[in-house]
Symmetry: C2
Subunit: 227 residues, 2 copies
DNA sequence: CGAAAAATTGATCGACATCAATCTGTGTGG
DNA sequence: CCACACAGATTGATGTCGATCAATTTTTCG
């Protein structure tokens, strides 16, 4: 069986934390710290969280595992646009028109928190702080993500691995030893290259002792950004 | 002298329209339709609208001309992340933390509308509709932009030109005959390739009668997406 | 165990980078 | 007004990185 490639994130380090809190989705229990109360969605690998064009009822936050955000072009070709790790918010692009804009598919056994949009729009017309929190959240989300499919293959692969590690670290998970969580094919798609090239590059990084690599398990050694 | 590569956009087709309206920035004059009242910023080519890391006081909307959004990496290398055309909103990533996240530089003589953030946060705590409009706006902005630096060079260049045309068209400007508004070098940077390659590819499209090209002036003929 | 998917490795080829030279247009000063 | 300078753009020759084709090997899972 596949096992989830990440542990479970703490609510404190989630993008949606403030919003959940203001919605009363997180109960403060005296002894045990934070505890969430809302709905969870559990996904097997390959399962869709939602589909582009579908009417949107909810925002999601990744709690455990990993997903990919996929853009299906006019030609029907799949392009992996981003990889979503614990603490990430999903579906915010649907807040306005209530239509999801991409496909989101679990790469691993994955758990997501679900926040109904209806609850949010009800509440933010009453709770002033919530509107501010949402605006903050969306504002941050509109900041530029580092584009991974640029530069030499070496730079792209290194950038991908470092980015993934940094994001896990940032959420309080282990960012120096983790699972890539996806196949070489999927990495190749994300980085706009070929599976053989990804394989060769990863092997080379291993031979150079920049990383340890066994299957999808990586340990960072001396991998640095750029060249 | 360089002349602006685009005409002036109508307020109606601007991303910020609803927000401006609710802020009372647009006065309805009976005879003459819409008329805006707020501050304008005029920029010469090469001038910065704002800089990454700088404290943010305002949102902007492009009114006329073109700008580039530039990401300066740790190595000091410039990467053009996107090109901003009339009707686009700039600076929304700073709404939360009040710090701009990229550099934005005029490519042409350019005019932008300026909306002070202070005014917005004051007003949206009073005007309920405004919070909703902002959330809508930011939500749309977080939707995925088509990534231009993917696929063969042919695809990237064609994609770039078609995207630019479509965006102008969408704002009520001429999307079949327009100026690229930037040098081959800047296009190369945006598309993650080299100036010679951009030049050759554009010339080839011209020879194939897919476009007419004279310097930066393009006329679309039979250019189609994909290969 | 056996089948299927994923990953690795090798050999060859082609698209794009690189190096180099020339051309074109635009603004400047004599 | 013309000549010059300079930036931008084009064009050619050559090299190289990554794509492609092909064959195993390794891992996963029924």
């Amino acid at each position: 069986m596949t096992t989830p490639s990440t542990g479970t994130i703490a609510c404190r380090s989630c993008d949606l934390y403030e919003v959940c809190r203001l919605c009363g989705m997180i109960a403060l229990s005296e002894q045990r710290g934070l505890q969430r109360t809302g709905a969870l969605r559990t996904l097997k690998p390959g399962t869709r969280l939602y589909r582009a064009g579908e009417p949107a009822h909810s925002l999601f936050a990744v709690r455990q595992g990993m997903l990919k955000t996929v853009d299906v072009g006019t030609d029907g070709e799949e392009r992996i646009v981003s990889v979503n790790t614990p603490g990430d918010m999903l579906g915010m692009e649907a807040f306005g028109n209530r239509i999801y804009a991409q496909d989101v598919v679990a790469l691993q056994p994955t758990v997501c928190c679900e926040l109904p949009l209806s609850m949010l729009s009800e509440q933010y017309s009453r709770v002033r702080e919530l509107a501010a929190a949402l605006i903050n959240l969306l504002s941050r989300a509109s900041a530029p993500r580092p584009m991974l499919a640029r530069g030499s293959i070496r730079e792209r692969v290194a950038g991908f691995i470092l980015d993934l590690g940094a994001r896990l670290e940032q959420r309080g998970l282990n960012g120096r030893q983790f699972s890539l969580g996806m196949t070489r094919q999927e990495i190749a798609n994300l980085l706009d290259t070929r599976i053989e090239t990804v394989s060769r590059t990863i092997q080379k990084l291993g031979r150079e002792r920049a990383i340890d690599i066994v299957g999808q398990k990586v340990t960072l050694r001396s991998l640095k950004p750029a060249a």
